[in-house]
Every structure is written in C-alpha cells, then in structure tokens.
Amino acid sequence: MTVLDIDSIDDIVWCPLFDTVSDLVSLHSSDGSVLNVNKAFADFFGKSPDAWVGEKCFNLFRRAGTIISDCPIHRMLLADKKNVNMELEIGEKIFDEAASPVRNRNNEVIGCIHILRDITVHKQIEKAREETERLKTVVEMAGGISHDINQPLTVFSGYMDLLQRKLPEENEKLHDYLVKMKDEIERMKEISKKLANVTRYRATDYPGSEKIFDLDESSKA
C-alpha cells in the first residue's frame, strides 16, 4: 500500500510522464470527479485535458446519471479501498479498467488513479483462437461421426445391392420396397459425405427456442 507525503488530493503534482503512455490515465477526487487526465485520455474522448475537469466518472465511463454499483472507482472509494480491476466496453473498444486508491500521509483514501488499457486486439485474438478451437472440435467430431457411420452403411448398402440382384424380378412389390430403402441409403450417404466436408460451424433454429447444427450450411464449399 503506497502512501504519499501529502495531505489532500489538491497537493498532487500531475506528472508530465503520464502524457507519454498510451493508457488512458485520469486522476479523481474522493467523490469520483475528474481532476486531471493525460494526453491519451484527451485524444480518445476528443476534448482537451482541461475540458474534463469536474466531470463525474459515472457520466464519463458509463453514461449513467448517478453512482452505479459496478463502477470500479466508487467500489474502490466506498468499500474496497484497494485496487479494483474490471473490463469496460466503450464503443467498439474493450479496456482493462483499473482504479487504484491515492492515500495521504495519514493513510486515508483521498482520491483515485483510474487507468484504461486498450485490450481490444488481445480480446479479438482470444476470440479468434476460441473460434478456431471450436471449429477444430466440430470438424474433428464431424469427421469421426462420418467415419463411424460409413462402416454400417457399407454393410447395409452392400447387402441391399445383393438382395436387389437376387430377388426374383416378378416380385414387383418387394423390388419397390428395396428401391425405396436404397433411396434412403443414398440420402444417408449424402449426409455422411456432408459431415466429412464440414468446414465451419453454423447453427439453425429448432422449434422450442433451441438451436441445432446446420449441416448444409456448415458443409458448403
């Protein structure tokens, strides 16, 4: 726990070094109001550093009209009195949000340093990796199922052919049954072929607010 050799938050000298970092840095008083921001912060939100002084954090970061419970600044100031970390989405960007207490020489929390680190690219890479993993699982599973189905399908289809050749031609009704059965075997073969050719994961709606794997869309070239 770092204690500064000051009495009040107004004694803090804003360090120009903050303007060299790409993280969005802001200093807040004990009620969450902005006291100072760095260049990265000003550039991101599109107003000069001076324009932010006095702004309430809940308006700025969460567009709420009042203190809200999931605000890390207020969580830290009112309850935890120690570092709070969470994720924050602003537009299309995702930030790692950290609120750290500023303590005076009496170890009292007099304000907060708030830092937003852009983790958008990191999150996109993570999401892409998860998608790739999921797709790999789906492709492997589909290939495995196709392989296993093809074994009994081979036997079924082979004996159907033999039966069709050995059945006397005069028995039209039974031949007709066999033709119908063979048509369904061909359908099963097509399904198995599609399973072997799955290259993506697509789901379709199923009655009862469920989703099921869409084999046609998932196996399209």
Binding site: N150, Q151, P152, L153, T154, S157, G158, L162, S192, A196
Partner: protein
C-alpha cells in the same frame, strides 16, 4: 492367374460382405481382421491383390501398406476407408496405395478396380 484377394478390415461384417460379393464374381477371398493377421496370411499365401482398411487397432492401414509394398512389391494394394481428407489421399499415394476408395464403397467401381488389378498383374507377368 490365381484370382485370390486379401481383404483386411477390423469390422467383421464388412469382411463378410466383401467375401460374399467377390466370391460370387469368382474370386477366392481371404479375410484378415488386422495387420498382423494380414502379414501372416501373406507369408503363407501368394496373394497379389489386397484391400486394406486404414483405421485398425495396432498397425494401421498406411503402415501395413508400406510394409507390404516393401516385402512384396508386385502387389496391387487398395485403401478402403471410412474417412479421408485430400491430405490423407496424398499420404496414401506416398506409402504406396494404388488407389483409394471411400466407404460406403460403390460396389461396381470397386469390382472394376479389382478386375483391373488382375489385368494389370497379368500384363506385368506375361511372357
């Protein structure tokens, strides 16, 4: 020429089906449930046309084909598999398979391939 075929597959129903199909065509069919049995059969019998499943417990079909082609180069070996990718087909060619068939196999195509295998062997060995 002695028209004997060796069929290797860990699924007994598939072995029985292929035996039924090719016996009717006048071939003599020898069955093996795994690579070890297949190699044992080949030690004791002169069989030049062979069909191998790829996925088998123990030695798989690719390793078996490599072994067969090394010991008995004058054989025609076909892969008959439940699943294969394009990469898998090129791997099969690399280990020496003469052709690759996907289950459930089109029986007429497979029969033609077996017939072609014997024709080819006859040409190779004709004096």
């Amino acid at each position: 020429m002695n028209k004997k075929i060796l069929i290797v597959d860990d699924e007994a129903p598939i072995l029985e089906l292929l035996e039924e199909i090719f016996s009717e065509e006048g071939y003599s069919v020898v069955k093996a449930l795994n690579a070890e049995m297949a190699l044992d059969v080949l030690k004791k019998n002169r069989i030049r046309v062979i069909s191998l499943d790829l996925m088998m417990p123990g030695m798989n079909g690719m390793e078996l084909c490599r072994s067969i082609k090394k010991q008995y180069p004058m054989t025609i070996v076909y892969a008959l598999t439940g699943h294969i990718s394009l990469f898998g087909v090129s791997e099969c060619i690399e280990v020496g398979f003469d052709d690759v068939f996907l289950k459930p196999v089109d029986v007429d195509s497979f029969k033609k391939a077996i017939e072609y295998a014997f024709d080819k062997l006859e040409r190779w060995t004709a004096r």
